[in-house]
């Protein structure tokens, strides 16, 4: 068993930055990545904004001949993995010597391919084989492993909007159990007509801005992105003299077992408590919570009630921010991008804000780090994520100390 699991590389494809440096700079600036949706027609939807990654050029990362076989989410996944791989200083020699694993997550990874097929069938047109090869859910971890010649375990978690945390959590277990010395863990999702329509029909999409915890919040904003973290045992990281961003303390999963789309305080609280217990962390030690914080009335209220439930009188003293205020909700990718933010937060002792915040909501009376980044010592960050189906996952990310 490896006791200590660390993060040694970060890769980001997001609407506010490609590569972690640009992403991090813009998180601290409080930059919004929200813009009018361009990848499909929203004329007949109630809302028109989304969080598309406008300047993503897949050909900068992936050989042109492979692109026709990859859906957009997979392209972003491979790009984020490539950025993380380079950031971690991994080489072809590392992949040849040891069986590197891939643990990936998504909500509807192949959505764009499924949508293309649906449209072509309605128009009674033929389907090209490349498009059909894009349809399975597990193309992203496969494409990542092919890119770097990874012979280790290869997993795809489809646990909706908590998928990134599930994938990182399992990578952590794989390393603890000595199943793989290094794992590329992350998640990806592309903006999808299906998601956009579904959340619109739920009346859950904000028309202009995403303003988590604000009294006048109007909902989430569907978005896209990908994030990859290089995760390895402390021993392996030290041996190859890697830069260590942070340590993974442990995680907790829970299931509400209640309703497909309505969370429970009990389920979310159980999840946070499990994560803290496994990491051996006292509540007083938590110095930051990366909220699921989607910006819907119900989610934010439920999440704040759960934080109160778990942390009792301590809750007002813990900064809790939602970077979804800037990115929108990148679905399965969200908790991977948020985990990357947490790794940078504990490394740099800076907390990104919840932007668009104007009017306090007594039901969300947490310290949401409104509008401006804050310098704050962060030893322990708790990364929360909840999903349709009541699939909850919380991850503990710690400052790395020798």
């Amino acid at each position: 068993m490896n006791d200590r699991v660390v993060i040694t590389g970060l890769g980001v494809v997001s609407s506010i930055g490609i590569g972690w440096q640009e992403f991090w700079d813009n998180l601290l600036k409080g930059k919004s990545g929200i813009s009018p949706v361009s990848s499909f027609d929203t004329t007949n939807h109630f809302t028109h904004n989304g969080g598309e990654v406008r300047n993503f050029r897949a050909e900068d990362f992936i050989p042109a001949e492979r692109l026709p076989f990859m859906n957009r989410a997979t392209q972003m996944a491979v790009a984020s993995a490539k950025l993380a791989w380079d950031d971690a200083g991994l080489t072809a020699g590392d992949a040849a010597e040891r069986a590197i694993g891939v643990s990936h997550g998504t909500t509807l990874g192949a959505a764009q391919a499924i949508e293309d097929v649906d449209a072509l069938l309605i128009q009674q047109q033929g389907l090209r084989k490349g498009l059909l090869y894009q349809m399975p859910t597990h193309t992203a971890p496969s494409a990542i492993a092919r890119e770097f010649d990874c012979h280790g375990p290869n997993f795809m978690f489809s646990t909706a909007c908590a998928a990134g945390n599930y994938a990182i959590a399992h990578a952590h277990d794989l390393i603890r159990m000595d199943r793989a010395p290094i794992v590329l863990a992350g998640a990806s999702d592309a903006v999808s007509r299906i998601e956009y329509t579904g959340f619109n029909q739920f009346k859950a999409v904000a028309p202009e801005k995403c303003r988590p915890f604000d009294k006048d919040r109007k909902g989430m904003i569907p978005a896209e992105g990908a994030g990859t973290l290089v995760i390895e045992s402390l021993e392996a990281a030290v041996r190859r003299k890697a830069t260590i961003y942070a340590e993974i303390g442990g995680y907790g999963l829970s299931c509400d077992a209640h309703h497909m789309t309505t969370a429970t305080v009990e389920g979310i609280s159980a999840c946070m408590n499990k994560a803290l217990r496994e990491a051996g962390i006292a509540k007083e030690e938590v110095s930051y919570i990366s909220a699921h914080g989607t910006g819907t009335v119900a989610n934010d209220k439920m999440e704040c009630a759960s934080i109160r439930e778990v942390f009792g009188p301590l809750y007002k003293g813990i900064p809790v921010s939602s970077i979804k205020s800037m990115l929108g909700h990148t679905m399965g990718a969200a908790s991977a991008l948020e985990a990357i933010a947490c790794a940078l937060i504990v490394r740099h002792d800076m907390i990104p804000p919840t932007i668009n915040y104007e009017t306090p909501d007594p039901e969300c009376d947490i310290d949401c780090v409104p509008n401006k980044a804050r310098a704050h010592k962060v030893h322990i960050a708790l990364n929360n994520s909840y999903a349709f189906g009541g699939n909850n996952a919380s991850l503990v990310i710690k400052k790395f100390l020798q």
């Binding site: 007949n44 939807h45 069986a99 998504t106 909500t107 509807l108 499924i114 949508e115 097929v117 649906d118 309605i122 389907l127 084989k129 059909l132 090869y133 349809m135 399975p136 859910t137 597990h138 193309t139 971890p141 496969s142 492993a145 092919r146 990874c150 012979h151 280790g152 375990p153 290869n154 997993f155 795809m156 978690f157 489809s158 646990t159 909706a160 599930y166 603890r176 159990m177 199943r179 007509r193 299906i194 329509t197 579904g198 959340f199 619109n200 029909q201 999963l253 829970s254 299931c255 509400d256 077992a257 209640h258 497909m260 789309t261 389920g267 999903a387 349709f388 189906g389 009541g390 699939n391």
Partner: protein, 411 residues
């Protein structure tokens, strides 16, 4: 000492039988589940039969309540979970609920719901789509409904690794038990038969019968021409040995080890693949502390895809060396067809049957040997034989490979 993960209950919905006992009996008999498709109109396709569970009646397993909005995959996996819980005698209470989890492998289980939802938006406009169908578009919906229905709160995980997902769910469950994260896990896989999945495998040329003759599942046979697409679900109760014993459960088998490896050389025809499956098998054997000669039966993933069957036969020959021809290697997909992400769980359920009832399931529909698949494939008729340890395999054209070693339980 490592906590042992044991199997204490099995629930099966398959085209050859529903419920563990009927399923095991069908495997011994050499039943086949291929029949004309009724779930959708197969007229546009060159193949018109599949492994449809025509007599599946969710009402009989689940009752009327809460059934209306559930898609077929969800009904199948909830029914299999019901059977597995009943078989194991495990009672999930409010107190024990947080120590029980769900891990389900599925990749296209929600594809029909997703595509239907999308087409409704395209044809009728996004404001006319039925919002109550939106929750069915997430791939974790079948697994989540298992938790909702049986109030299982420990965790809920969906794995989507294609042909490997069923086995991966079982190994994930065994790891959770081994790490002390749960007392029991309902683990398995599910796929429904639908037009969308069928079209994909049809258009990519994976199906048997593309030449107009009826599809036949004949793994390892010289005349094999692809697989028969099927549906099904198997859910196994994977439990902490001490927990199972303390409640006096009948322990059916033990999960001894698992292995998982990616094959960067993998290709859609399995022409270059091989190293990944070999790595997965070797890792599983090593973890199980079992030598190749201790394996009494290989429950193979061969499905009639020419390259896959050849690749697996070659890999087994490499792993088993001189023992290769002495180890029975059969494919239950000759009877069931290819249930994709459910196949690993159905294979594990068959492996437990082989151990408990002392038989090797046959590879049916066999006519002519393929010299490149030189294994003892147990042609056409089951064999009565005591089996202690079984190796179960899975391989995916996208490169994922998994293996699981299941053994008889000795105190």
């Amino acid at each position: 000492m490592k906590v042992r993960a044991v199997i204490t209950g099995i629930g099966v919905l398959s085209p050859i039988g529903q419920g563990k006992d009927a399923y095991w009996e069908a495997l011994q008999r050499g039943a086949t589940g291929v029949r004309p498709i009724t779930l959708f109109d197969p007229a546009p396709f060159r193949v018109r039969s599949a492994g449809e569970i025509t007599d599946f009646d969710a009402l009989a397993y689940l009752g009327k309540k809460g059934l209306r909005d559930l898609d077929r995959s969800t009904r199948l996996v909830c029914s299999a979970a019901r059977l597995a819980l009943d078989d194991s005698g495990l009672i999930v209470t409010e107190d024990s609920s947080r120590a029980v989890g769900v891990a389900i492998g599925t990749t296209f289980g929600s594809l029909h719901s997703i595509a239907q939802f999308d087409r409704s938006g395209l044809l009728e406009g996004p404001r006319f789509v039925n919002p109550s169908h939106f929750p069915n578009t997430v791939i974790n919906s079948p697994a989540s409904q298992v938790s909702i229905r049986f109030t299982i709160k420990g965790f809920n995980t969906t794995l989507s690794t294609g042909f490997c997902a069923g086995l991966d769910a079982l190994s994930y469950a065994a790891d959770f038990i081994g790490l002390g994260r749960a007392d029991a896990v309902l683990a398995g896989g599910v796929e429904e038969l639908c037009e969308e999945t069928f079209r994909l495998f049809h258009d990519l040329g994976y199906l048997s019968g593309m030449n107009g003759a009826g599809p036949v599942s004949r793994p390892f046979d010289a005349d094999r021409d692809g697989f028969v697409l099927s549906e099904g679900s198997a859910v196994l109760v994977v439990e902490d040995e001490a927990h199972a014993r303390s409640r006096g459960a009948d322990i059916l088998a033990v999960i001894l080890g698992c292995g998982n490896a990616f094959d960067p050389e993998a290709d859609s025809a399995f022409e270059r693949a091989g190293r990944g499956l070999r790595d997965a098998i070797e890792r599983a054997l090593e973890e199980a502390r079992v030598r190749p000669k201790d394996i009494g039966y290989v429950c193979s993933c061969a499905n009639g895809t020419p390259g896959l069957d050849r690749m697996e036969a070659r890999v087994l020959t490499e792993v088993f060396g001189e023992e290769a021809r002495r180890v029975p290697v059969s494919s239950i997909k000759s009877m069931i067809g290819e249930t994709f992400s459910a196949s690993g769980a159905l294979a594990a359920a068959a492996a437990v049957g082989a151990i408990r009832q002392g038989f090797i399931p046959p590879t049916v529909n066999h006519r002519q040997a393929d010299p490149l698949c030189a294994c003892d494939i147990v042609p056409n008729a089951a064999r009565s034989r005591a089996v202690k340890t079984v190796l179960v395999t899975a391989a995916d054209p996208y490169g994922q490979n998994s293996a699981l070693v299941v053994g008889g339980y000795n105190r």
